[in-house]
């Protein structure tokens, strides 16, 4: 029996664009989650940690990050095997030349394709030495002769993935072809198991240990894999390691009090300090709901690690014209009507958006004048 944790795509030092002040926190959390993996492996008494590429976002990340990762892994009691991926390929000047990798005998950076024979298994590493290649990284792997559990470590695109470029292509039946009991692969950030022709899962993307962006499914996990013996069916368990929640709330506003309900929904979200929320509204914009929108924005920006409110797709409610009637006859009312028409019938989305915003401005000034 061999028990190991498979993880990949930590993307330490990655860019977190569009998150404002939360960017650095998002980056820091990824490093904290590595610590969590080590803790988890210790708790589960795991003896082997396999990391299949893209530990770092780039070979030119800050060297202090490399040291932190190395030192965190050094605290794992079992053996650690790392194969470089396409983000951190084994090139001159890579992160793998950092001295931290020489400081711990149980942390191994696999730099060539020679099999590593351990007590209960044989590892077949496929380290990447450049960023792009159309070559199958497993092309020369053949584990058919071994009597021990054969585990492959690779990084690339499994053929058939949507929108995947022919970059380090990995056949769907790569594990079977190479005679592997399990092929641990990295590159895609969502957990993705692949069944062989015999219906058995012998190949899987573990996914990233911490979600990297909005809309990324089944991420923030590592895989605990158990294989009883050579040829046995791998037992795969997904363990949660991610600390951050990335929520996207797409809502359509039909009436003025819909926004109040959304505010309540937001307030109910637990642990908002580790939560990134993106709200995209469409539907009708009631000028009187301007205050509610402001409140919503305030909740987003003050409570959550990151919050973003988009009202670009909202259009002024057609029946919401009573406030215009309240404007004095003449220049102002005529202007308001002109802009309102633009908000409905503008030639493009930008024109309509600007007109809607202008109406909001006029509404605000009208309210102020009434005070």
């Amino acid at each position: 029996m061999i028990r190991f944790v498979h993880t990949a795509d930590w993307q330490i030092g990655m860019k977190a664009a569009g998150l404002g002040d939360a960017s650095q926190r998002v980056r820091d959390v990824r490093l904290d989650s590595v610590e969590r993996i080590v803790e988890l492996a210790r708790e589960r008494d795991i003896e082997l940690l396999l990391i299949t590429g893209d530990v770092f976002e780039d070979n030119a990340v800050d060297r202090s990050l490399v040291r932190k990762v190395g030192e965190t892994l050094s605290r794992f009691r079992g053996q650690v095997f790392i194969t470089p991926g396409n983000h951190d390929p084994l090139t001159p000047g890579s992160v793998w030349e950092h001295p931290v990798w020489e400081e711990n005998s149980h942390v191994h950076v696999l730099r060539d394709r020679r099999p590593i024979e351990l007590e209960n298994c044989v590892l077949y590493p496929c380290p990447l030495k450049e960023k792009y290649s159309t070559r199958n990284p497993l092309s020369s792997i053949d584990a058919s002769d071994t009597h021990k559990v054969a585990i492959g470590l690779a990084h690339g695109n499994v053929e058939g993935l949507p929108d995947a470029e022919p970059d380090y292509p990995i056949p769907v039946d790569a594990a079977q072809k190479a005679g592997l009991d399990f092929l641990a692969i990295g590159h895609w950030h969502s957990f993705s198991p692949y069944k062989g022709s015999d219906g058995i899962v012998r190949m899987a993307y573990s996914g990233t240990h911490e979600t990297t962006k909005f809309g990324e499914r089944d991420s923030g996990n590592v895989l605990l894999v158990k294989i009883a013996e050579r040829g046995a069916v791998p037992q795969i368990e997904s363990l949660r390691t991610g600390a951050l929640k990335w929520l996207t709330l797409d809502r359509s506003i039909a009436q003025a009090d819909d926004l109040a309900r959304l505010s309540s929904e937001l307030k109910a979200i637990e642990d908002p300090g580790n939560c990134l929320v993106r709200i995209r509204l469409d539907g009708l914009l009631f000028m009187s709901a301007r205050a509610e929108l402001e409140l919503l924005n305030e909740i987003l920006t003050t409570r959550f690690l990151y919050g973003f409110l988009s009202i670009e797709r909202m259009t002024p409610a057609p029946e919401d014209d009573s406030w215009i009637e309240e404007l004095p006859v003449g220049v102002l009312r005529e202007s308001a009507e002109t802009i309102r028409q633009q908000a409905f019938n503008g030639s493009d989305e930008q024109t309509r958006l600007v007109a809607t915003r202008a109406l909001l401005e006029l509404f605000e000034l009208k309210e102020k004048a009434a005070l």
């Binding site: 070979n59 060297r63 001159p92 404007l327 004095p328 220049v331 005529e334 202007s335 600007v354 915003r357």
Partner: protein, 896 residues
């Protein structure tokens, strides 16, 4: 406002007090010649109404009459609404302000000082100026109603005046709250935008501007970081490349090293073969030499034998010819001796030629000396004659005693001095003359001399200081005079006389004329002597007469000498031409003889030389033949020294030839083996070693390059360029998002502001329409339909016309000067008409319509008469006759 009365004191050209009024509520024409204060009057009214009394500065100072320390002041009475006011204002020193109101028939003060200034502006809806004097925009409605001289055009109407116009037209732009909102829109717009619609920059810049500036900065940083990150990746590639190059160089160096080793083995084999080939060639060479020696010896013996036979034969022939040559030589030598003797004989005849030449020379000398003697004879005879004449003159000169010119000059000076002294003496004396009627006896008492003087005679008596005479029968007469001066003159006279006497003594006379004649005679003699001496000098030609005579004697002696040798010449002088002819004939004959003998001698000499040469050559040839014979005999003795027979020699030659051919075949074999090795292995080895060294150097260079690239890479990787890059990229995305958001907000504000402005403009445009229509009608009445409609801006400022024949508006700058002033006057009247709806208003026109022709002026005057029903019009002009058509107008002449 309606003007009632105005009084101005000490204002520019208006000295003292000038008061006008009361004015008519209709048309008033104030006229006066140029420079008499019409415009000053109008200015005083404006300053009095719109300027604060305590205003300072050069502008207000300039209203004080020139060169006078007077205080300008103005009093204006006007009606506004139902009230009548009086303003009394004094400027500069003693500045004051007072506003009174007509109450119960009397003006009662209602404000003074600054309060009065403020109150007046309130009544007239004027605006407070800043520093200095007020400008048109501060005058409230007056900026439309009043046209100062040269300022009839309307460029701008202030906001308050505009509001009044709109109010008069009954237009309400917005309600109170609407106005507030519009102000808020304007304020918010101006918070971010300039009045021209651009984003505000600088200290109060719109946030989007700061964001965009930061975006530019961050993009610049990003570019640098990307370049750095790219440099990192390129450095990684460089290291990789350097490693490949080093490995490749090492592989190539290793391969070359193997080739070098193989080539070294090849070189060793080559050297060995070459040594063998050299030894065999040497053996071949020795064998060949042996064969050549035998063969040469045999051939030499044969040749020498033939040579000896030939030499012996030739020597016998030469010995025979030698005897004949010796005989021939002897004969030639004898011929030469004979010819030499003949040549000497001929040469000896040359002395005859010399003698003949000498006779010619002597004859020429003889004739020359004779000619010289003749010439000497002539000169000596002439000289003797001149000498005799000269002697005669010299004797004459000795007899002639005459003073020298210098003495004569001195005598003339002394005579003049003497005469002057005489005159001075006479002048300094007392003279007494007596001319008696009868004879009288007179005694000079001064010297006691006595004189008798008859009738008709005059006796004179002189004395230095006193003349005293006694006339018999009459008595003594004394005449006296000044003393002292006569003695001095007398002394001078005596000195002159003494000197003259001394100088004239040698000549026996002191007559200056005689003395001059003597001097002239002496001069004539001296000139004759000089002439003769000059002739002698000419004849002698710088010689002395003794020298001449000596030369004469010497020439005669030479003639005698020649005559001794050639006695015939004494009787008959020689003829040079004959002598020369004889000489030439003799000379030709002798020279021909000499040339002939010398030719014969030379011929004989050549003949002898040829014979001697032939003899010598024959003897030398014989010697050569004999020497060759001796050498050949000696050599053949040496060659035959071995004592071998000719047959034995031929066999030895054959043996040597066989040995040589065997050695040659062995050497050729060795050479063929050597040729099997291509090229020069030494050279190839050298090249390969060079190649190996170069490859080793390439490997070393590649290693160095790799280390350098590694160093650079290490340095770049330590920087963590990616982490910096993404931080910048994140900031950029954040900025882009914020700019997008801000941009929407700014666009929304701009849209709101723009839409409100457009709406307002449309409303304003509709407001000005009634004024445009009114003005256009008036314009059409005055200038006809040509100019069409007058267009005003939203602020009621004329901006264009729309002629009937044109669809597009035409700018006012296209109108003539006359039309422009008519148009602006009409615009002002149209606006005034609007303002007069509620109450009568004052229109002031200062010296306008100067460029308007009489036809249009007449129509304008009709127009003025029409509007005077609603307006008070005051026209200031220096041409009152132009306004005489205004029948209802009150004409006021300024200063009367």
């Amino acid at each position: 406002m309606i003007l009632k009365r105005i009084a101005v004191t000490n204002w520019r050209s208006l000295l003292g007090a000038v008061e006008l009024g009361p004015f008519s509520d209709g048309l008033n024409v104030i006229h006066a010649p140029n420079g008499t204060g019409k415009s000053s009057l109008f200015e005083a009214m404006r300053r009095g109404l719109f300027d604060v009394h305590h205003v300072k500065g050069n502008e207000i100072e300039s209203v004080r009459p020139w060169g006078r320390d007077l205080t300008p002041s103005v009093v204006i009475e006007f009606a506004e609404g139902s009230e009548t006011y009086r303003v009394e204002k004094t400027f500069l020193s003693g500045a004051s302000s007072k506003l009174s109101r007509l109450e119960d028939g009397k003006f009662q003060p209602i404000a003074d000082s600054r309060n009065a200034d403020t109150k007046i502006r309130e009544i007239l809806a004027a605006e407070a100026p800043g520093r200095g004097l007020s400008k048109q925009e501060h005058w409230g409605l007056a900026q439309v109603l009043w046209a100062p001289q040269g300022e009839l055009a309307i460029d701008k109407i202030s906001g308050s005046a505009n509001e009044r116009l709109r109010a008069a037209l009954g237009i309400q732009m917005s309600g109170e709250s609407g106005g507030q909102i519009e102000e808020q829109i304007e304020a918010r717009f101006l918070e971010y935008f300039t009045s021209k619609g651009g984003y505000k920059k600088g200290k109060f810049a719109a946030p989007i501007v700061n964001l965009q500036e930061r975006e530019v900065e961050i993009r610049s940083q990003l570019l640098e970081l990307r370049q750095k990150h790219q440099a990192f990746e390129e450095a990684a590639h460089s290291v990789d490349d350097a490693r490949h190059r080093r490995l490749q160089a090492r592989r190539e160096a290793d391969a070359t090293r193997e080739t070098v080793d193989e080539m070294r083995a090849s070189v060793e084999r080559f050297d060995k073969l070459k040594s063998e080939q050299s030894n065999k060639r040497e053996t071949e060479s020795l064998a060949k030499k042996r064969y050549d020696d035998f063969n040469n010896s045999f051939l030499q013996i044969k040749t020498l034998r033939e040579q000896i036979a030939s030499n012996e034969k030739t020597a016998a022939i030469l010995q025979d010819s030698e005897a004949g040559l010796e005989k021939e030589t002897k004969s030639a030598r004898e011929r030469l001796d004979k010819k030499r003797s003949e040549r000497e004989s001929a040469r000896n005849k040359r002395s005859s030629i010399s003698e003949a030449q000498k006779a010619i020379d002597r004859a020429r000398a003889y004739l020359d000396q004779q000619a010289l003697v003749d010439a000497h004879n002539k000169r000596i005879n002439k000289l003797d004659a001149i000498q005799k004449e000269l002697e005669v003159f010299k004797q004459k000169r000795t007899r002639c005693v005459a003073p020298e010119s210098k003495v004569l000059k001195k005598l003339r000076n002394l005579a003049a001095k003497r005469d002057a002294a005489k005159a001075a003496l006479s002048a300094s004396q007392i003279h007494l003359s007596i001319s008696p009627e009868n004879s009288i006896a007179v005694e000079d008492l001064t010297d006691s001399s006595k004189h008798s003087v008859g009738p008709e005679e005059t006796a004179s008596f002189s004395g230095d200081a006193l003349v005293e005479i006694h006339v018999n029968g009459f008595g003594a007469i004394r005449a006296s005079g000044p003393e002292g001066s006569a003695e001095k003159h007398r002394k001078t006279l005596e000195e002159a006389l003494g000197e003259i006497e001394k100088l004239c003594q040698p000549f026996g006379t002191d007559d200056l004329e005689r003395l001059q004649t003597l001097r002239d005679e002496a001069d004539a003699i001296e000139r004759s002597i000089e002439a003769l001496e000059e002739r002698m000098d000419t004849l002698l030609d710088r010689e002395s007469i003794e020298t001449l005579k000596q030369e004469h004697a010497e020439a005669k002696a030479r003639i005698a000498e020649i005559e001794k040798q050639y006695g015939d010449w004494k009787k008959e002088a020689p003829v040079l031409s004959k002598l020369q002819k004889d000489f030439e004939s003799l000379s030709l004959k002798i020279n021909d003889t000499i040339a002939e003998s010398e030719g014969a001698y030379e011929q004989a000499q050549i003949s002898l030389s040829a014979s001697e040469k032939n003899l010598n050559e024959g003897q030398a040839e014989l010697k050569v033949q004999q020497a060759g014979l001796d050498t050949a005999k000696k050599r053949i003795e040496e060659l035959l020294d071995g004592g071998l027979s000719d047959e034995a020699r031929e066999k030895a030659i054959s043996d040597a030839l066989m040995s040589w051919q065997a050695a040659k075949a062995a050497a050729d074999q060795a050479e063929a083996s050597l040729k099997e090795i291509p090229g020069d292995p030494h050279r190839d080895l050298k090249k390969l070693e060079k190649q190996r060294t170069a490859l080793e150097q390439t490997e070393a260079s590649a290693r160095d390059a790799e280390k350098t690239a590694e160093g650079q890479l290490q340095s770049l990787s330590a920087e963590g360029t990616y982490s910096k890059l993404i931080a910048a990229e994140e900031e950029l995305v954040e900025l882009e998002n914020r700019i997008a958001q801000e941009s929407i907000r700014m666009d929304a504000l701009k849209l709101l502001h723009g839409t409100v402005s457009e709406c307002r403009s449309r409303v304003i445009a509709s407001v000005s329409a009634p004024v445009e229509r009114s003005a256009s009608r008036m314009l059409s009445r005055v200038v006809g339909p040509r100019l069409g409609e007058l267009k005003l801006t939203g602020e009621f400022v004329p901006e264009a016309i729309t002629p009937e024949l044109s669809t597009d508006p035409v700018a006012l700058s296209n109108l003539s000067g006359g039309e422009l002033e008519q148009l602006f006057l009409i615009a002002r009247l149209a606006l005034a008409d609007v303002l007069a709806k509620d109450q009568r208003q004052l229109v002031v026109l200062d010296d306008v319509l100067n460029a308007t022709d009489s036809g249009r002026l007449a129509r304008l005057l009709s127009l003025l008469e029409e509007v005077s029903d609603r307006l008070q019009v005051i026209i200031l002009t220096c041409h009152p006759e132009r306004y005489r058509g205004l029948e209802q107008a009150t004409f006021v002449k300024l200063g009367i």
